[in-house]
């Protein structure tokens, strides 16, 4: 099958790739670009471990054809921190033990990042709904909710540490 050109910007880096049109976004990110921070827990759209931000909105990268993201801007977990400087959410996840095995963590972080970009002061209910799709088998979620909440309370603003 004819490969097609795919032009995407991932974590501010522009890529031009040739892919089969059936390739899913998650496969391109992981296998072509080596961004293995994006995980896959089901490949059927149910677990949301593969969440990335595409053009400002979260999507499940296992449920989007890569070619459909052509021309798009993508953020993955690797694009959150800048150098050693973690984002407030990443710091808060650490402090609140909001991860255990860590396999859902990338997806959680991206869902939470998008949530806070849309609404910087969500209620607990809104936090729950914002990350509702993301399954976590380890934590029971409450630590994740506390971590997001702490960020909204300004505990991780620049210079507050």
């Amino acid at each position: 099958m004819e490969k097609q050109v795919l032009r995407i910007t991932v974590n501010s880096e522009y890529h031009e790739l040739y892919i089969k049109p059936k390739r899913l976004l998650v496969e391109v990110l992981r296998d072509e670009l080596g961004l293995t921070g994006t995980k896959k827990g089901c490949n059927t759209g149910a677990c949301h471990a593969c969440t990335v931000i595409l053009n400002g909105k979260t999507v499940k990268s296992c449920s989007v054809l890569a070619i459909q993201a052509d021309g798009g801007e993508i953020k993955t977990v690797e694009g959150l921190a800048s150098g050693a400087e973690l984002t407030p959410l990443q710091k808060s996840f650490l402090d609140h033990g909001a991860y255990q095995c860590g396999f859902c963590t990338s997806g959680m972080l991206l869902s939470a990042t998008a949530l806070l970009a849309e609404n910087s002061k969500p209620t607990v209910e809104q936090i729950k709904e914002g990350i509702h799709g993301n399954l976590c088998r380890c934590t029971g979620y409450n630590s994740i909710i506390r971590a997001v909440k702490a960020v909204t309370e300004g505990k991780y603003e620049e210079g507050s540490q």
């Binding site: 059936k22 899913l24 759209g45 499940k60 449920s63 509702h132």
Partner: protein, 293 residues
Amino acid sequence: MIRDFIYLKANTVEEALDLIDQHKEDYKVICGGQSLLILMRQGLVAPEHLIDIKSVEELNYIQFDEKEGLRIGATTTHRTVELSPLVLEKFPVLVHMEENLASIQTRNWGTIGGNLCHGDPAGDPGPVFMALNGAVKIASKQKTRTLTLDEFFIDYFETVLEEGEILLEVRLPPIPPRTAVVYEKFNIIKNDQGIISVAASITLNNDGLSCNDARIVIGAAAPAPIRAKETEKLLIGEKISKGLLEKAGEKASEEADPVADIHASEEYRRHLVGVLIKKMVEKAWEQAKAQVK
């Protein structure tokens, strides 16, 4: 495993219809792919040509006009509907429905058109649009037609769409005065597909007491969402009472035709129909009454 296909991207409706026409012997339309890709992965769908309408911007709109009502283009995402101030003002039930539909990620990429055309009897928009007396505009290269949503769903994952046709938009007439429309689904995990869902539209007479019109739709209780017409008849002309609600619940659970699966027995589903009908009719009735005052 997804089989290889030839990928064709349409940017306009015209392009889409042309592409479909050219490849009508073996094609499939993809929009958000939230449902389609699952089927393709299972090998249940393996088209030679995949025609992508996701970027057809001319179908990405929500418009309202006092006479015509609301029009939602097929490629509008669930999330756009959910966050639309216009929708919130004119058709709040849609916002409520969307907030409880799958995850944000699914709503960010999945579309209204794709949802309807997937024809899942447990889908949420279908019953609500039916209760709202909605219609759909459908086009092929040869013709354009408009159908009511009542006519749209045929069977499990089957709609009236014919080869070569795509759905262009959903039309919802303005909600008549003294009318309230409500929707709820029963599930164990929030935002899961409903084990049973019920949408109810109740219009009251000027007296604010008796029912002038009712549209009651049940989802996940038959091969397609169904109008509970006998239940509607039973309500029209009546005043609300415990007894009436009780009867409506009973009637609707007779009208439903659910099947057992791993999530619920047939009997339990029928029971849920009764429970939800009572709850929804009462809720719509009260909201409609509040408008009269």
